[in-house]
Subunit: 490 residues, 2 copies
């Protein structure tokens, strides 16, 4: 495993990119901005999917699948939606290739032009609400609680593996409700589901909040978000949940007969998280020795490495390790026993360390004599000698401890890097230190825009129930009823 | 549940379409040829995915994800591959929309034309082998055993829900090997996995075989297939596994150092099944009363319906049913207890019958007095009175019995509709009866093509180890060493 990669202090952004590639998580493809998610990276994403999918089903949602393509005209139906998405989309204009007349390769067949161009979905509100129109007649057809796991495409100019790619994988929930209150409650519920997942599985502490109008989803009445903080002090939006009001129902003419027998437009939400979470996971915990994975999402939780010189020694270790592996697996722990020949224990140690495997167990002939093993934890890089008897209990507890330790470390970092400021000078100084900056803002989009242009910082979130505190906007001095949280962000 | 739909005898193709739509499995979308898979249909597909994914992992495969888009030039690199796929593909030519100058809607921005057009993947051999080039240097990097769950697009002119859609969901395995033998063994292994899945989960008997050159995958050296027979006597190709030789390695220059330290091209396979399996599942078992699902893939295996007039009666039944539900769930059986008010038991019976739920249990006050329930099975539409004591055991066995019964029924139908013929007249007569026709063929693509033009029948498969039998081609009279299996097909 190559260790020749940048340290975080040296070049954080290079460190991230090196790590993603060298830990075999993902790589760039021949198609600009589109990544290949490699098996090890995909295994982590699969674990994320499983946990989230279970949570969605527990909260009453079902999966479905809607078309990849959206007719161009659908985008014009919701005014702010088109503004938000039309600038960055892949457009299908033809449906056939033919042999080039010069005999070299293939060309697009000009006779196979589509009457109406198709957009590769950047998000599916339009095609889904066009479908819901036929599913909904009365309040008895509501709520519709549907989720879709899918790929989407947004033509990003500057891409980074996982964090911002032209194509990415995500889930998008799209729900339909009879009342505004019910839709709002749904949007809030899914925000809680996301926060629970981020904190208790990814070990990434997040702040829940509301977006300012400038940062709101194109077509939403209100956008709720969870915001995490990376080790370089930058914020990362890890998930969003939108209360869409009746905007899409009006755009796609989706009405229902309510209990009072009156026709009304349907209320909507949408919510999503994506492979961007992989970026958040990697940047929250990893270090200059490579990846650090929280046990609950690690494809391999425990790597066991035999220390041997002769084949006879290996045979003895193989036998001794079998019941340990069985005992660990019985506890639901995923184990890899790496007894490959031709690779030194040191090489294997580096490999599993670099790939973020939470616990490593090394067992040699002397350990067997003593009835012990060396147990190393990835988060602290410390080792202990542990009795083989009952080691599965020890490891199970250790995995839980690593899970909490990662969360606590990230939470402490975030607390240290959340600063309250009252003046423009303090604001700029705090931004340069990195992290969240709690400051007063006059509530206007113009001021937020100016601040963004001057500092590259945006309002990451407004607390959902902000603590009332009279103050003055850091830029304009106009009155402000409470603080909002700024940061530079991914 | 609307029963006003065509019978199989009346109009088989209309029956299929009505069933898919009225059983809430899928529907057509606003995008030509692209379907919406509705929650009930998607729940069946999810069950299929879970079983297949487990089987892939048990045979050593890992999942990964490759780009949706493929540069146009990649298609020209493998000569027969481009012939097979270039005629039917969605082509992305631009990456931006802009407001129309006339203020009405949006138009494609002519300034945002791609230098090289991108094809929405119809299958991923090209982009994957372009990627594998960087993953493989020596025999130590082999085999690569990767699978991808993805959407693909083939611009079909005539589409039918699940059976042939412009966009469909599938999995595609792409493996790389050091030797031809190993790759062939892999292709055969995956064919066995597919056959096992079709027969033991879908309850659909299949014939394994090899495709004739005319029906071979574009770019393959050998295509293995499983072929099923639908209730109208038409064949349906349910899955394919390809031995690709070194074709893609040569097209994308993927070489490795073998154990003899010589550079050689890598050997390849690919294999896939798609949402087309949903069509096979529906057409194999369903009847004029609606869907019939094999228990192992049914999202709801048992529906329990209380029979009551007064609320007090329902309260008593609710209580009595709780331990039964718990006992069934403990056995891993998925149960839906439908105690909705305002819908008659008869309506509910129809609903679950139409949706193919394998077992229905009805319980009323008199049943409770007698300690019994009425258990109805969907496959035979028969009912029995069963003691509540130990009913979970009875139901578990019944589900197994239904699973085998469906398989046996379909297998018997196939046997009845497999005919050996020796003359052209017999051949045409057998084709008109439907089913597989085992006949002699002279082995030339020209003869197969002529037969196809004359009868619409194709060679569905050549047995993998055909029984030697000297004979004469039904069309040309030329010598033939064994029979092959013809049919009209989906």
């Amino acid at each position: 495993m190559a260790k020749n990669f940048s340290s975080r202090a040296e070049n954080y952004s290079q460190w991230y990119n090196d790590l993603v590639i060298k830990a075999d998580l993902a790589e760039n493809s021949a198609v600009r901005g589109c990544m290949v998610i490699k098996p090890y990276g995909y295994a982590i994403w699969e674990k994320m999917q499983q946990v989230l999918d279970t949570k969605f089903k527990e909260t009453g949602h079902e999966n479905a699948y809607f078309p990849l393509f959206i007719p161009k005209s659908f985008f014009s139906k919701e005014a702010s939606h088109v503004e938000g998405f039309a600038k960055e989309c892949a457009v299908v204009t033809h449906y056939r290739l033919k042999n080039s007349p010069d005999g070299k390769g293939v060309i697009v067949d000009p006779d196979a032009k589509l009457e109406e161009e198709l957009i590769v979905r950047p998000t599916s509100e339009t095609i889904i609400w066009d479908t819901y129109r036929n599913w909904i007649q009365s309040y008895r057809d509501l709520p519709i609680l549907v989720n879709q796991w899918a790929n989407v495409v947004r033509w990003e100019m500057r891409t980074r593996l996982f964090l911002r790619t032209a194509e990415f994988l995500w889930q998008e929930g799209h729900t339909a409700h009879a009342t505004a209150d019910e839709a709002l409650a749904e949007a809030r519920q899914m925000l809680d589901v996301y926060a629970d997942f981020a904190e208790n599985w990814m070990a990434v502490p997040v702040r829940k909040g509301v977006k300012s109008p400038n940062e709101r989803f194109a077509g939403a009445v209100e956008t709720f978000c969870i915001e995490a903080m990376m080790q370089d002090g930058k914020a990362l939006q890890a998930g969003t949940s939108h209360f869409l009001g009746q905007n899409f129902a009006k755009a796609f003419d989706v009405k229902f007969l309510n209990k009072q027998n009156q026709l009304d437009y349907v209320w909507a939400t949408s919510w999503g998280v994506s492979t961007r979470l992989m970026g958040a996971l990697i940047m929250s915990h990893s270090d200059d020795n490579g990846l650090v994975l929280p046990p609950r999402l690690a494809p391999i939780q425990v790597a066991i490495i035999p220390i041997f010189r002769k084949e006879e020694q290996l045979a003895i270790i193989d036998d001794a390790v079998k019941p340990i592996i069985a005992a660990l697996r019985k506890k639901g722990i995923s184990v890899k026993y790496d007894n490959r020949d031709g690779l030194t224990p040191g090489w294997k140690f580096n490999e599993y360390e670099f790939k973020g495997v939470p616990v490593r167990i090394a067992i040699g002939p002397r350990d067997l004599e003593n009835g012990t093993a060396e147990v190393a934890r990835r988060d602290t890089l410390t080792k202990e000698i542990i009795a083989l008897e009952g080691i599965e209990e020890y490891v199970a507890n250790l995995l839980e401890e690593i899970q909490s330790n990662l969360f606590n470390k990230a939470a402490a970092y975030r607390e240290e890097n959340t600063r309250s400021v009252n003046t423009w000078e303090e604001f700029e100084a705090a931004l340069d230190k990195g992290g969240f900056v709690a400051a007063h803002w006059d509530g206007t989009p113009e001021t937020e825009q100016k601040i963004k242009e001057m500092t590259k910082a945006t309002i990451r979130f407004i607390p959902i129930n902000p603590e009332p505190e009279e103050g003055k906007c850091i830029l304009t001095g106009n009155p402000s009823p409470h603080r909002v949280f700024f940061a530079r962000a991914y």
